[in-house]
């Protein structure tokens, strides 16, 4: 038995073996030196006269200069969207609208390699995730909503659905193209036009998407892309020509937007932060659970609003899970996002790295024990070693606040009631995970967890047909599925 234990503690390959570099070619994508704004189907110089650089977080090298959209630019973009609306985008035959969306889905599939490389360059995420998750899901999202465009009256019987008008959409930097797809696909399917603001640090895939719009021959002004920072977003939120705001980002900014829109009657959906509980019972298939824990918190460097950042393990298997988890963490490869072997890429920005570093320091100061596997990090770029905290009290900041990085807090419980009590002890309510072989317990837990998405014996699964969104301070409204159309429709 002791011999077996020792064997299972060993790394799966002899320590002397190393992976040969397997870099994805980056010449599949050509990046322009500068990107103006995309308004009314054309590239438009910013009236603000300002530009900002977007950098590769793995090398800190600038990739391109991007236009900063000021108040005038946002205004022009909103006018272009209104004009496209008036010119008949929503009156166009719904079946024709569907075909535009099907075209976009197909073009994204055809150009998937190019987009995947660009996404990893600009955002720092591992190429295997851009290639196998972001791109296929983005294309699937357009394909799914394409089919709804001419079936809205079946989705909402007796309600005479009609488009809301111009949708202002603000997306985050963790899944840049995928979040664009989540926002743009249902909006267009429902007959709206769009002004979209990509995140400040990851604008390039949205700008390349403009070329997809050209290839798909989407009429000018139906989708407008305005790059910038929080000021650009605030202009979009408060613009009187925008009928609906969809925001994905931090809870803090979400609350500010909700306040700004108070009394305006403007429609709003918010997809905000999370501090998800991932709960492992003693009867769970522990090796599978450990894979789920790893995927739950280290996927996309932990830059995931639904990341399983609070791990609750039943006391009787705590030591086993911790041992298996540490062993598995030792096999994670951190480094070049474009290397096909990389599991954990670069932290998205200096600012985010500082935030993660600050919270991890707070965890240590408050008294938690920290573990990080031995790991060689590149010299340049923004990196953070996969981290797990043990001996964590529920009151610690690392157990309360969203870190949005590869940092896990491990806590314990004895009974299912205690697991529920602890899991729900948060202002957030986006997602949760449950690991147990007992079916009745899965359903019992799923009923009681106050969160919008429950992953049972799996984690971080996404699909265009599956509604996604939060309870409590994780926001309101759903994206995905039939439910994801509703925020983009008005009814009789």
């Amino acid at each position: 038995m002791a011999e077996l234990d020792r064997k299972s503690d060993r790394a799966p390959v002899p320590a002397g073996w190393d992976y040969a570099p397997a870099p994805e070619a980056r010449d599949v994508v050509s990046i322009q030196e500068r990107y103006p704004l995309f308004i009314g189907g054309e590239w438009v110089e910013p009236r603000s006269g300002e530009w900002f650089a977007t950098v590769d977080p793995a090398s800190e090298e600038p990739l391109a200069d991007v236009a900063f959209a000021g108040p005038e630019d946002v205004d022009v973009a909103v006018q272009a969207a209104r004009t496209a609306l008036a010119d008949g985008w929503s009156d166009r035959s719904p079946a024709e609208r569907a075909k535009y969306l099907f075209r976009i889905a197909r073009i994204l599939q055809e150009r998937s390699r190019e987009f995947a490389v660009l996404e990893s360059l600009d955002g720092g995420k591992p190429i295997k995730e851009s290639r196998d998750v972001d791109l296929p899901l983005a294309a699937a999202h357009f394909f799914y909503y394409a089919g709804w465009a001419d079936k809205l009256e079946y989705a909402f019987p007796n309600r005479s659905p009609r488009p809301v008008g111009v949708a202002g959409q603000i997306i985050p930097w963790n899944f840049p193209l995928l979040m664009l797809a989540w926002k743009v696909a249902p909006a267009l399917a429902a007959g709206n036009t769009v002004v979209l603001k990509p995140a400040e640090t990851t604008p390039l895939s949205a700008l390349l998407f403009c070329d997809v719009l050209r290839q798909a021959e989407v009429p000018p002004g139906v989708v407008n892309i305005v790059t910038g920072d929080g000021r650009t977003g605030a202009e979009l939120v408060t613009h009187s020509g925008v009928d609906k705001i969809a925001f994905t980002g931090s809870t803090e900014v979400g609350k500010a937007i909700q306040r700004q829109l108070a009394g305006t009657g403007k429609r709003l959906t918010l997809e905000l932060g999370g501090k998800a509980a991932n709960i492992v019972f003693d009867d769970a298939a522990l090796d599978q659970a450990v894979e789920g824990i790893i995927n739950g918190i280290y996927f996309n460097q932990g830059h995931v609003c639904c990341a399983g950042s609070r791990l609750f393990v039943q006391e009787s298997v705590y030591e086993d899970v911790l041992r298996k988890l540490k062993r598995r963490m030792g096999t994670l490869r951190v480094g070049d996002p474009l290397d096909k072997n990389t599991d954990v890429g670069a932290i998205n920005s200096r600012q985010q790295l500082d935030k993660i570093t600050e919270l991890v320091r707070a965890g240590e100061e408050e008294g938690a024990d920290v573990y990080q596997p031995p790991c060689r990090l590149p010299e340049k770029g923004y990196w953070f070693v996969p981290t797990v905290f043990t001996n964590v009290a529920q009151s610690y900041r690392i157990a309360q606040e969203e870190i949005f990085g590869p940092v896990l807090s491990m806590l314990t419980f004895r009974t299912p009631d205690e697991a529920i009590e602890k899991a729900n002890n948060t202002p957030y309510g986006l997602s949760a995970g449950v690991w147990t072989e007992k079916g009745s317990r899965i359903l019992w837990m799923a009923q009681r967890l106050r969160a919008g998405v429950i992953w049972a014996n799996t984690y971080n699964r996404f699909d265009p047909a599956s509604p996604f969104g939060g309870y409590k301070e994780s926001g309101f409204g759903r994206e995905g599925g039939r439910h994801g159309l509703e925020p983009y429709l008005d009814f009789e």
Binding site: R159, A262, T264, G452, V453, A456, P467, S474, F476
Partner: protein, 265 residues
């Protein structure tokens, strides 16, 4: 010889009991002294609503439907009393029928609003509606009874609990309704009714951190200040019909929960 009638004392309805305002205050409305609730009463009401949420939201939908139907039964017996404090018998009839209509929705919501989702991988995936939690309701001033019920019934049918600020000018209907609720097997705390000054109470309801949704259908004008307060904990702000019925009125107080599980042998 005329008999001197025994007049009713109109009090608050909190946690299944009928307390006076802890402040000892009252105001005159519709010829009666009515309790003028304080913000402490409001906090007590939210606490009672939160306490009742677990039981009310997890009882079977069939059971909850029967309780709502029982409310209609209890109101039917009070039509004459209610007619005196509302727009008349027609409004009361409409209100009773509305409870019956909503009672029937309790066990149909997941079938109409939820569904099974065909994801592109070997997982079983379904979406079910769930109550959002504690709902704060600013009851419409008019119609006093039908307006209140048009907001309250769709909020509680799915398992939410409610804190209501009654019509300020016409609060008696809300208290009469409370007396029917108290005898209709509605667990204490599921519905809490406060009478008093809206401008005094509403901001505390809108800003309360343990309230999940705020129904402003009965608010005058834009109520921007209340909406701003509601953002403090990302409340769902609802504006619906003040005298109508629809499953979409129920949906405004719901969360959609999606559950995934792998399929395999």
């Amino acid at each position: 010889m005329s008999r001197l009638p025994v007049k009713k004392t109109y009090k608050l309805y909190v946690g299944g009991a009928f307390p006076r305002s802890e402040s000892g205050r009252s105001y005159e409305a519709e010829g009666h002294n009515v309790a003028r609730a304080s913000r402490k009463d409001l906090r007590d009401a939210v606490k009672a609503a939160r306490g009742a949420f677990g039981k009310w939201s997890t009882m079977t939908a069939y059971n909850r439907g029967q309780v709502l139907y029982r409310i209609a039964e209890m109101l039917e017996a009070r039509v004459a009393d209610l007619a005196r404090v509302t727009g008349g018998a027609e409004e009361v009839d409409r209100t009773v029928d509305r409870w019956v209509w909503y009672a029937g929705w309790a066990d149909k919501l997941p079938q109409v609003l939820g569904g099974a989702n065909p994801v592109a991988a070997p997982y079983f995936n379904f979406t079910v509606p769930e109550p959002t939690g504690v709902v704060g309701i600013l009851a419409p001033e008019q119609p006093a009874l039908a307006g209140l019920v048009s907001r309250l019934a769709p909020a509680i049918v799915s398992g939410n609990t409610a804190v209501v600020i009654a019509s300020e000018a016409r609060p008696l209907a809300a208290i009469e309704l409370s007396e029917a609720l108290a005898t209709a097997d509605v667990p204490g705390g599921v519905v809490n009714v406060l009478t008093g000054y809206k401008r005094e109470l509403a901001p505390w309801l809108a800003g309360h951190m343990d309230v999940n949704a705020l129904d402003l259908s009965g608010a005058d004008g834009e109520a921007a200040e209340l909406e701003q307060l509601a953002a403090e904990n990302v409340k769902r702000v609802v504006r619906g019909s003040v005298d109508g019925q629809s499953p979409w009125e129920i949906e405004r107080f719901l969360e959609m929960k999606t559950v995934w599980h792998p399929i395999g042998v």
